[in-house]
């Protein structure tokens, strides 16, 4: 018993001494580390947006979005601090997007990709492919930007992540793409739009009355009946109720729901539907 007590006390004393040493060191180094990270962040901010005057940070789905203002309090762009999982571990990076929604820069903060193979993501040649692309451009791996052979995982996950972040920025901060269409800016009238559906085109007619979305009719559709019944009339009702296009799509009828939404988007003038607007005003 006495022996066990002696062993425990020795261990406890050593642990306590270690802990106090570590606490002391932590209190010395922690402010320096925090300060340095912040400086790095500000420097990156200034590299991408030389006219930055102020910024505020918002967090969406675990990523940090820094909204950059110039001296006139105008938004000049967004810098996202985000991460993705590459081949060797987490890749942390900044993605800067200007007011028009175009990528103006990528900076890898940290990564653990294979030296000589996966670390191609830090190379200018890989990153330059993205510069100037916007949320409207398709960023499709292997088509619009090159996957580097041998580094499929590293480059592929970067491409996917960048494409996602750009769309999030356009949707949340630049009022484009996605759900935030300003109906009050659209003149009253009846508009039509079509998108390609499962077995043919899907056409909707929408009516705007004094800045409000009043009516959504499906003029033509060739969707699978069992799925379409899930999406219609519920999806149009939801859109009208919310006065926004970022509704939750119906489980089991995701495709049909999304098609209705994008057809409405296509119909409205000045919107940015993926299929190119062919809305007609009456």
């Amino acid at each position: 018993m006495r022996e066990i007590l002696r062993l425990s006390i020795t261990l406890a004393v050593i642990a306590i001494l270690s802990a106090s040493l570590l606490t002391g060191m932590e209190s010395i180094t922690e402010p320096i580390i925090r300060e340095r990270r912040h400086e790095e962040f500000l420097k990156t901010l200034q590299d991408f947006f030389p006219e930055v005057d102020d910024y505020e940070t918002e967090e969406i789905e675990g990523d940090q979005y820094n909204i950059i203002y110039d001296s006139d309090d105008e938004i000049i762009g967004i810098m996202a601090a985000t991460e993705t999982t590459g081949y060797g571990g987490t890749i942390n990076y900044y993605l800067a997007v200007n007011r028009e929604g175009e990528i103006i820069g990528i900076r890898i903060i940290s990564h653990s990709e294979t030296p000589g193979i996966g670390d191609v993501i830090t190379a200018d040649g890989f990153q330059e492919q993205f510069i100037g692309k916007s949320y409207e451009d398709p960023i499709e791996a292997g088509e619009d930007v090159d996957i580097v052979s041998g580094a499929t995982e590293s480059t592929g996950s970067m491409i996917d992540s960048i494409s996602r972040v750009v769309n999030t920025i356009a949707e949340y901060f630049l009022g484009q793409g996605g759900g935030s269409i300003d109906f009050s800016a659209i003149p009253d009238g009846v508009y039509r739009g079509s998108v390609d559906g499962t077995d043919g085109i899907l056409t909707v007619e929408v009516e705007i009355v004094s800045g409000m979305l009043e009516r959504i009719d499906i003029l033509e559709q060739n969707e699978t009946d069992t799925y379409f019944i899930e999406a219609y009339p519920l999806v149009p009702e939801l859109i009208i109720e919310k006065q926004a296009l970022d509704i939750d799509t119906r489980t089991g009828a995701t495709l049909s729901s999304e098609r209705i939404v994008s057809a409405v988007k296509t119909a409205l003038p000045g919107s940015t539907g993926d299929n190119g607007g062919d809305g007609l005003s009456e």
Partner: protein, 209 residues
């Protein structure tokens, strides 16, 4: 053997004759893991040396208080403390190196060179000898990492003092096609194998032992 001779021996033994990497093949995990660039290899060596010296010193000082039956947990706690201190210092003052060494800094805790010296040397010897032993073995470890990472960076990247683009010196001009395998883990084994063989040849040739 007179007294100063012992001390000199403690200091130099670890550098060449019992070099932890080339002669004893100890602590190979960081040796293989972080030696793609010379700067990183050297940084790793110095970090491990700092931990080794501190742990040797402290363990030698308190060896009288540590009961035999719990000595290994005590050593590990002490080593882990110094490793964490080093990690915090690196992150605060050498962020690029900290980033490059990554998970290998916390892994110094289980580096068998350090625990080996604590168990085999510092826990049985006087303070000064343990200190000298820590310095010597640490230098030997750093030397080995430096040589290995030098070879790997020159062969695998064609540069020296990378990966920081500002300090990197390209040695062979643009036509040189680096041997990419040396930058990767298999290349670490190959380079280490060649260097160990070379050391053995030299030791035989000059009859050191």
């Amino acid at each position: 053997m007179n007294e100063s001779n012992i001390y000199l021996q403690d200091l130099t033994r670890g550098i060449v004759k019992e070099n932890p990497v080339f002669r004893l093949l100890l602590g190979l995990c960081p040796v293989l893991g972080v030696t793609a660039f010379f700067v990183n290899g050297l940084g790793m060596g110095l970090a491990a040396t700092a931990v080794l010296i501190s742990s040797n010193l402290v363990i030698s000082i308190i060896k009288g208080f540590i009961p035999q039956r719990v000595r290994i947990p005590c050593f590990i706690v002490i080593i882990a403390t110094f490793v964490t201190v080093i990690e915090m210092v690196l992150e605060a003052f050498q962020p690029d190196l900290h980033e490059a060494l990554g998970v290998f800094v916390p892994l110094i805790v289980v580096n068998c060179v350090i625990l080996g010296r604590a168990e085999a040397f510092a826990s049985r010897r006087p303070v000064l000898r343990s200190l000298l032993d820590g310095i010597g073995v640490g230098l030997g470890f750093t030397l080995a990492l430096g040589i290995l990472s030098f070879v790997r960076e020159v062969a695998g990247q064609g540069t020296i003092l990378g990966p920081d683009a500002e300090s990197a010196v390209h040695l062979f001009g643009p036509v040189f096609e680096p041997m990419g395998i040396f930058a990767q883990p298999p290349g670490a084994f190959i380079a280490l194998g060649i260097l160990v063989a070379l050391t053995n040849v030299l030791f035989k040739r000059f009859k050191i032992d």
